[in-house]
């Protein structure tokens, strides 16, 4: 396309944005609200995901060995667990260390057990893939000299289920919102097209190509999308920075950590802008296609 032609298309698209200021305002607001909701949703989902990852990574299997087992047997057990499929690492903790931990968390009354420690040695096992935790636990449970195998089964599985479900619901909601915004843009462009029907008719009559007719409208849709993306990008960026500043010190040492602002916010802004442009362009394509049939 010639630069002159592109310039003309850009001027035309601005012209109709100005001319239909009311519809422009309506659809830009719609895109703004949509992208704001979508953006907030993504922020929550991404942080949720982040939390899920940390919890997933934190899930380990505790294998309590038979208290009657001697050192040689324990050594064999550690080796066997270590060579089990899907096991990332095994940390050995002696029965005395285990008792110390219990005394620490439950109090000195337990010190009297130091005379005859009833606990067995413990192995802390991490799976390469946290989702495999249950399967590995089951397998280890069949080995000899294992007294107990625990990993907070139900809790972990429920958490995974909730996370997966909310991810899916989130995606569906996002899609629905995007479609709504697209529909609104498409309506705005339709009004522009109807207002310029004679113009289009004449353009086609004298042999303008379909692209020539179409591009100003597609550009108009794109501007609407971009304008609609500005406020959400600013609002979400600023809020997230503030939130991060506020919460970060308080979350020191907690399992739950906010995602770092960089590169997350840049990526999110890019995504919001991209979504704005996409719904603008698609919205206009849809209405143009219907109206400009040759």
């Amino acid at each position: 396309m010639k630069a002159r032609t592109l310039g003309r298309h850009v001027r035309e698209s601005f012209k109709s944005i100005r001319r239909n200021s009311w519809m422009t305002f309506a659809s830009v607001s719609a895109v703004t609200v949509t992208l704001l909701l979508v953006g907030v949703f993504i922020v929550i989902m991404m942080n949720f995901n982040h939390l899920a990852k940390s919890i997933e990574n934190d899930v380990e299997i505790k294998v309590v060995a038979d208290p009657a087992a001697d050192k040689v047997i324990i050594k064999e057990l550690v080796e066997k667990v270590q060579s089990t499929d899907g096991v990332l690492e095994v940390v050995y903790s002696s029965r005395d260390a285990e008792l110390d931990k219990m005394i620490k968390s439950f109090g000195d009354e337990l010190s009297l057990y130091k005379q005859s420690n009833p606990l067995g040695d413990a192995l802390y096992v991490k799976a390469k893939d946290p989702q495999q935790t249950a399967a590995i636990a089951k397998k280890i449970d069949t080995y000899d000299y294992t007294y107990d195998v625990v990993y907070g089964e139900e809790k972990v599985e429920k958490l995974f289920n909730v996370l997966n479900m909310s991810r899916n619901i989130g995606l569906v909601l996002i899609l629905a919102l995007l479609f709504t915004a697209m529909f609104l843009i498409s309506n705005t462009i339709r009004i522009t097209i109807v207002a310029r029907r004679t113009e289009i008719e004449i353009m086609k009559l004298v042999g303008a190509t379909n692209n020539f007719v179409r591009i100003p409208f597609v550009l108009e849709g794109m501007w609407l999308g971009i304008m609609g993306a500005i406020a959400p990008m600013l609002i979400i960026s600023i809020s997230y920075y503030k939130l991060f500043e506020l919460l970060e010190p308080k979350l020191q040492g907690e399992l739950f950590q906010l995602l770092n602002t960089a590169p997350f916010i840049y990526q999110l802004n890019g995504l919001i802008l991209f979504m704005g442009i996409s719904i603008g362009v698609w919205g206009s394509f849809m209405s143009v296609r219907k109206f400009l049939k040759v």
């Binding site: 004679t198 004449i202 353009m203 004298v206 042999g207 303008a208 190509t209 379909n210 040759v294």
Partner: protein, 227 residues
């Protein structure tokens, strides 16, 4: 130049507006298409510039076969055809010059060429003095002259007009006819659907009469009459 073979057109509502039309129009001819309202004149004309597609049959314009012409190629066809309507179809927000230039701008002609061609054609239709006026400041005859100027500014081989004098008083109609005569004299083929008995009978050209979607008469230097 223009050939139609067994052209049949049935609208989606079932109306048959062309019922087997065969016609051949040579380069440089001036043809009146006459017939009562609803006869199928406009359909005949619309099929030539691919506004409507025939249900069956063959239409060839300037060697372009409209039956096999891909939608993408329609602009190429239209650049070789000028179209004039009863209701002018001018853009109210553009002045006379801009309305004519518009036809060249949208086919991406170079600016220098646009200036030259628009000025030439405005001189031809006698509107050089009114180039900066807007359509609502013009008389009907002047508006039609603008629309004719627009249709010929790209030097088409054929000009198709659907009742171009239908909205004009008799005197103005004669002025418009003079312009069409001039265009025809330059070698441009003209196909004009009309209801105007006085004009058809006074300025003699080939007359094609259509009724019920059929050509009922085709005479060189014919008269206007119905039935």
């Amino acid at each position: 130049m223009i050939v139609m073979k067994n052209v049949y057109k049935k609208y989606p509502n079932g109306v048959v507006a062309a019922n087997g039309i065969n016609i051949e129009i040579d380069r440089g001819e001036f043809v009146y298409v006459v017939g009562p309202s609803g006869a199928g004149k406009s359909t005949f004309i619309k099929m030539m510039y691919r506004e409507e597609r025939p249900t069956s049959g063959e239409i060839i314009i300037n060697g372009i076969n409209l039956a096999t012409l891909r939608n993408k190629r329609v602009p190429q066809l239209r650049r070789q055809i000028g179209v004039v309507f009863q209701d002018f179809k001018l853009l109210p927000k553009l002045n006379v010059y801009e309305n004519v230039a518009f036809a060249l701008e949208v086919i991406e002609a170079p600016p220098a060429e646009i200036r030259k061609k628009v000025n030439d054609v405005l001189a031809l239709v006698g509107l050089t003095q009114k180039a900066r006026m807007f359509p609502n400041e013009l008389s009907g005859g002047e508006e039609q002259r603008v629309s004719i100027a627009r249709s010929i500014v790209n030097v088409p081989k054929v000009v198709i007009a659907d009742e171009p004098t239908g909205n004009l008083d008799p005197e103005t109609s004669w002025d418009i006819m003079k312009i069409f005569e001039q265009i025809n004299a330059r070698g441009t083929t003209i196909v004009m659907a009309t209801h105007n008995r006085e004009i058809v009978n006074a300025i003699k050209h080939r007359v094609i009469a259509i009724e019920g979607g059929l050509i009922t008469r085709d005479e060189y230097g014919g008269e206007y009459y119905e039935g």
